[in-house]
Symmetry: C2
Subunit: 229 residues, 2 copies
């Protein structure tokens, strides 16, 4: 059954926004009387039937409600946007399919790219949630500078590539962990950034012996957390 997102579900009536509406009517050719599922991005899933189509809004009557359990862990990935936009978009899609909760693009000293295409990323987010039936909508924040991020979020993990002693994920993280993972740009964090992170209670962590690309590191930590469930 087709799945739609709505942030407007009141009194058993779910209203789809413009984009979802267009997708339902023009791509999927849904009509009044058709059944579908609607999710609110907070773990609630509804069986519903379309009853009204007016003013570019499609309204569905809820017939049944399910509540889905959240994941046992919480994963927030703070990651430098990659030089190539598609690598960052790819990371976002895969991390969401695997179950990330929050993504913050962080601007580091050696970052080449300082932004991302907001609207496109939000489309990818919704599509990935629907595809993977991830019914808790993850948060994707606006880009922030590295220093501002670690000041706001004190304590977490930093996956830098410098040859220093680092703990393995298995020694630091379990299935109920709240994880903030810092992943650097193509040129890695600077020594100064690593030092600053340590001062703000970030622990250095190893993602294995191989040099993972920025987006691969982000996908890997998402897969790792998922594997603990």
């Amino acid at each position: 059954m087709h799945l739609f997102y709505s942030n407007n579900i009141i009194d058993k009536l779910a209203t789809l926004d413009d984009d979802e509406c267009k997708h339902a009517l023009q791509v999927l050719r849904m009509r009044i009387g058709d059944t579908a599922q609607v999710f609110d991005g907070m773990g609630n899933l509804y069986d519903a039937v379309f009853i009204k189509n007016q003013d570019k809004q499609l309204i569905a009557q809820v017939t049944f409600k399910y509540q889905l359990q959240p994941l046992p862990y919480n994963l927030h990935i703070a990651i430098a946007p990659t030089k190539q936009t598609d690598r960052f978009e790819w990371f976002v899609e895969k991390a969401i399919e695997m179950g990330v909760h929050e993504i913050t693009p962080v601007i580091c000293h050696d970052s080449v790219r300082l932004n991302y295409k907001t609207e496109r990323i939000h489309k990818i987010k919704l599509a990935a949630c629907k595809q993977a039936f991830q019914l808790y909508l993850p948060v994707i924040n606006e880009p922030v500078h590295f220093v501002d991020f670690i000041k706001k979020h004190q304590a977490g993990f930093i996956a830098h590539c410098k040859p220093e002693n680092k703990n393995s994920l298995a020694n630091l993280i379990n299935r109920q962990s709240r994880v903030i993972m810092l992943i650097g740009p193509e040129g890695d964090f600077t020594s100064h950034e690593v030092e600053l992170a340590l001062q703000h209670n970030y622990k250095p962590v190893s993602l294995g012996n191989n040099r993972l690309r920025t987006e691969t590191a982000g996908i890997y930590i998402s897969a790792y957390m998922r594997s603990l469930i």
Copy 2:
């Protein structure tokens, strides 16, 4: 230091092929007397210095040899090529960065795409190995039909999406496992294909509660095996 691949290392002389040679000379501007590292795709890594450039071949003198340990597991992913070429290419890149040993594109009953761009995939393979310092070159086979594959490789795992009892990865696989993992096309395996696989000693395995795309499932199993090291 720059890393090059050579399948021609004899008597401490490493000869780079056309592509590697072009990359060294035209992109990286390497010159006679420059040092580099060369790997043979079988776990051997060499420090070397370029000594000769003739007939479009660049020859390096080996000065030191290292031998890298292979991964404790062996992972062979047999996967239906995705409808969109770039999704298959992303899978190949990420699976190799994370440490896959062998990839076989399998043509299933509901496969939409029956092939892939061989030359492009092999370029991606080499680039991913260099990027991630994966010094054992994985094997990427020519596409084969599902039935031929399971007849040739009897016993493995099948990650189908049908609502049947499946074991979790953790119950079936450990860090020293030899894993053959079958991953189906966008429309999943047919019931007949699943039945055939079971008859050929394939065990159904669950990759979690979410609907993973074909390429995401392939990346996930690669990350899972890597997480066991």
